[in-house]
Every structure is written in structure tokens, then in C-alpha cells.
């Protein structure tokens, strides 16, 4: 059960040009920062990235966009990124926008071995174009297919050497669903512990879904919208 790799470089060693990657996180929260940095360093190109967002200009997937490593983004929301907009308008980048719940559920479907799911999201909109519509109990649903990703890259708070993962607060987001969905799943964690140190009842992603794990370094954990209270409610 040798899942531990030394660092992000080793974890992503065999990610090749043209592959499809899932990247966990929501906004800048819960991003696999170490693996993104390693991908930028490696310079892997023509990637299709499945990720709810595309980062900002100088953080998250934005760093990969800047290096022109991304051929296509599959996301639900891609604002807050000027370089993204430039590449999109110039035709350098392809974008497929899909509803956030559809994105999450298509990941889950992959992790749960379900080839397709039904959702009402997008019925009557351009999202439905070309898709099968099916009525159940008087309500229309779109059939959406499970994702097929070569790698899923997620970030957890703690993990053990067997790949069991625990996320912190809202950094769980897409990490927990994408962790199940990669043909190979890489997990980077803030703290890597020995088997038995995590309570079996508190594990969010069982190790069976994780193929490689390492303890990341130098997490910036940037805040996208720092909002604070001026006074007590």
C-alpha cells in the first residue's frame, strides 16, 4: 500500500500533454496549490481542466492559464480573471460552462460508477441543447454523463498514508467529489499522518479512492474576498 510520494513533482510526474484533469477547490478555497505549482513548472500543455472556477490572474488555475497550458476549461463560473477573458475572446481557450450542481454530480457519478445522472438544471436553457430530456413524474430532466478524467488532484486538511482524507470546513467543496472521480487521484494534504491517527468515523474520503498522497508545503491559502464585520450585530 505504497501511496506516499515525496512531493508534487513526483505526484504529477506522468501527467501528459492533452490529458483531462479535475482540480478541486471552490474559488481560491481548498486549491491543490502544490500540484498547480508543479504543473506550471513541468509545463504540461493542451490540458482540459475540470474545475468549478479558473482561479484569478496570479493564483490557482490562473497560473496555468498564464503559461497557456490549458486548452479547455469545464467550469461553472470563470469570472475574476482577465487573462482568462483575453484567451477566451482571442479563441486560444475553449470553455464549457455547466451548472455547478451538474458539475458536482457528474464527478460523483464517476466516483460512484454511475454512467449518467438526471438533473433538472438547465432545462429550457441553452445548456440543454443536444442533450436528452426525459420526463419523470411530470418534470423534465436532462441526462448528463459522468466525467472521465485521467487525473483528479485534490487538497485535504489531513490525510494518512493509506489515502484516507479529512477536509476542513468549506474547503471540502469539490475536493471530496473529485477525489472519487479520477482514474488516478492525487491528494495533497496539510498534514500527513500514520494510519490510525484519523478517526474512521470522521474520514470524508476513504483511501480506496486515493492513489498518491503527499504533505504539501508553503500553503498560501489566499482569500478571494476578505469580508469582515465592522461591529457586532
Amino acid at each position: 500500500m505504497n501511496k506516499v510520494v515525496s512531493d508534487a513533482d513526483e505526484a504529477i510526474r506522468d501527467i501528459e500533454d492533452g490529458m483531462t484533469l479535475m482540480l478541486g477547490g471552490f474559488g481560491l478555497c481548498g486549491l491543490p496549490e502544490n500540484c498547480i505549482a508543479a504543473l506550471v513548472k513541468k509545463g504540461t500543455k493542451e490540458l482540459t481542466c475540470i474545475s468549478n472556477n479558473a482561479g484569478v490572474d496570479d493564483f490557482g488555475i490562473g497560473l496555468m492559464l498564464k503559461q497557456r497550458q490549458v486548452k479547455k476549461m469545464i467550469s461553472s463560473y470563470v469570472g475574476e480573471n482577465a487573462e482568462f477573458e483575453r484567451q477566451l475572446l482571442s479563441g486560444e481557450l475553449d470553455v464549457e460552462l455547466i451548472p455547478q450542481g451538474t458539475l458536482a454530480t457528474r464527478c460523483m457519478a464517476a466516483g460512484y460508477g454511475m454512467p449518467a445522472i438526471f438533473t433538472p438544471a438547465g432545462i429550457g436553457t441553452e445548456v440543454a441543447i443536444g442533450k436528452e430530456v426525459r420526463n419523470f413524474n411530470g418534470k423534465d430532466y436532462l441526462m448528463e454523463l459522468a466525467f472521465d478524467a485521467d487525473f483528479a488532484i485534490v487538497k485535504a486538511w489531513k490525510g494518512d498514508t493509506m489515502g484516507n482524507l479529512v477536509y476542513k470546513a468549506t474547503a471540502r467543496n469539490f475536493n471530496a467529489v473529485m477525489a472519487m472521480a479520477g482514474k488516478i487521484t492525487i491528494a495533497e494534504v496539510e498534514e500527513l499522518v500514520e494510519p490510525g491517527e484519523l478517526d474512521p468515523d470522521h474520514i470524508h474520503t476513504p483511501g480506496i479512492y486515493i492513489h498518491r498522497i503527499f504533505q504539501g508545503v508553503n500553503y498560501e491559502k489566499r482569500i478571494e474576498q476578505r469580508t469582515v464585520r465592522k461591529n457586532v450585530r
Binding site: 474559488g27 450542481g101 432545462i123 441553452e126 468549506t170 471540502r172 467543496n173 482569500i223 464585520r229
Partner: protein, 218 residues
């Protein structure tokens, strides 16, 4: 005429004890500030949280605790965290009692457009399509007319749709209106100082006016 805070205040009166509520970005976010203290309401943030609290005090921000608008927030006692699949699972299963969101256009049959303007950079629909496709009860918070002075309450939306036949109620700076099941905007209340005629002039879609229209109490 209501300001944004006024719209938020009026919408807050629609929230009932025990409701689970999802608040969109913009005016809907402000609604949280006006929920009556004597009722228990749980706010859902679709990135994976039930029990969203107010913004943190300066210095207490946690990068791992954000809402769907990517703002730093706090969690109230009794909060629960879950992943994005379960978050939209509970939305699709209609466990969220009320969804409040903004719109660019609403049609008289309850269609909503709020994610895309042809020719402009499209940022994406985020969770809006999931929310409007599933919510039992949707209130739209928006301005009655756009910046060009054109009505946003239309016979038919002109912009790409976010969802169809879904909006139940609209609160604008001028009025409170129900979207009737058979179509049409039924005028329920006028904003303070606003006449029925002003609302008529600002509404392009079918406006239904029955009896006296009371001024809203906020």
C-alpha cells in the same frame, strides 16, 4: 421607492420560522441582515455549508470558511459542512425552502434570465441554474427597470434563460408582485410613495391589478 436595503428588508418578511434559505449574491445577501430575531432560519451556502453566520471580526478570517460568493464568513452553532454533490443534492431534493436571487429579466410566466448577455464576457451560471430548476419557492430581488430605463418584467425574456416557469415572487424598488401560475405579474404591494401608474409604466409584461393595492409595510 426602496433602496437595496429596503428591498432586502421587505424580502426578509417572507422568511418563516424553520426555513432553510439560499441567498444569492448582491441584494439577496443583504436579506440576512433583516431576518427577524424571533425566528430560526438556517442559511445554506451552496459551496457546502448550512448555518452561515455573519462576516468574521477583523483578524478572525479563515481562508477555509467562505460562502458561495467567496466571502469570508463564520459558522453558527449547529452548522454542518458537506461536499458540493450533497449541497446540490439537497437543493434538487427541495430541502431548501426558499431561494432568493437577483435577475436581469423575469417573464410573466416565471422564466428568469440572469447569467449571460450576448456579446459580453460570460462568467458562468454558477449554481443559479440548479437553484432555479429545483427550488419550490423562488423570490427574485431586482430593480424594476434596467439602466437604460427598460422594464425587466417582460412578456418574454430576451436574454438567454437561466430557468423556466420558476419565479414565484418579485420584489423591486417599486413593488411586490407574484408571478401567477397561469402567467402574469399580480401586483401585491406598492413601495412607499410609488403609485400604481408608476408601476404600470415600468412593467412591460402583463400586470394584473385587482382592487386597492396597499403600500408595503417594512
Amino acid at each position: 421607492m426602496l433602496d437595496k436595503e429596503g428591498i432586502a428588508k421587505r424580502i426578509a418578511k417572507e422568511i418563516k420560522d424553520g426555513y432553510y434559505v439560499n441567498l444569492g449574491i448582491g441584494i439577496p445577501t443583504l436579506v440576512a441582515n433583516y431576518i427577524p430575531a424571533n425566528i430560526d432560519v438556517v442559511l445554506q451556502s451552496e459551496n457546502g455549508l448550512l448555518g452561515m453566520g455573519p462576516f468574521p471580526f477583523e483578524g478572525e478570517e479563515d481562508a477555509d470558511v467562505i460562502n458561495a460568493g467567496k466571502q469570508t464568513i463564520t459558522m453558527l452553532p449547529g452548522s454542518a459542512i458537506f461536499d458540493s454533490a450533497m449541497s446540490f443534492g439537497m437543493i434538487r431534493a427541495k430541502k431548501v425552502n426558499l431561494t432568493i436571487l437577483g435577475a436581469m429579466e423575469v417573464s410573466e410566466n416565471g422564466d428568469i434570465a440572469n447569467w449571460k448577455i450576448p456579446g459580453k464576457m460570460v462568467k458562468g451560471m454558477g449554481g443559479a441554474m440548479d437553484l432555479v430548476a429545483s427550488a419550490e419557492n423562488i423570490i427574485v430581488a431586482m430593480q424594476h427597470v434596467n439602466k437604460a430605463g427598460e422594464s425587466k418584467l417582460l412578456p418574454k425574456c430576451t436574454l438567454p434563460l437561466t430557468g423556466v416557469n420558476c419565479v414565484k415572487k418579485i420584489v423591486t424598488e417599486l413593488a411586490v408582485l407574484d408571478v401567477l401560475p397561469d402567467g402574469g405579474f399580480k401586483l401585491l404591494e406598492r413601495a412607499p410613495g410609488i403609485s400604481v401608474d408608476e408601476i404600470k409604466n415600468a412593467t412591460a409584461g402583463k400586470l394584473i391589478i385587482e382592487g386597492d393595492i396597499p403600500e408595503m409595510i417594512i
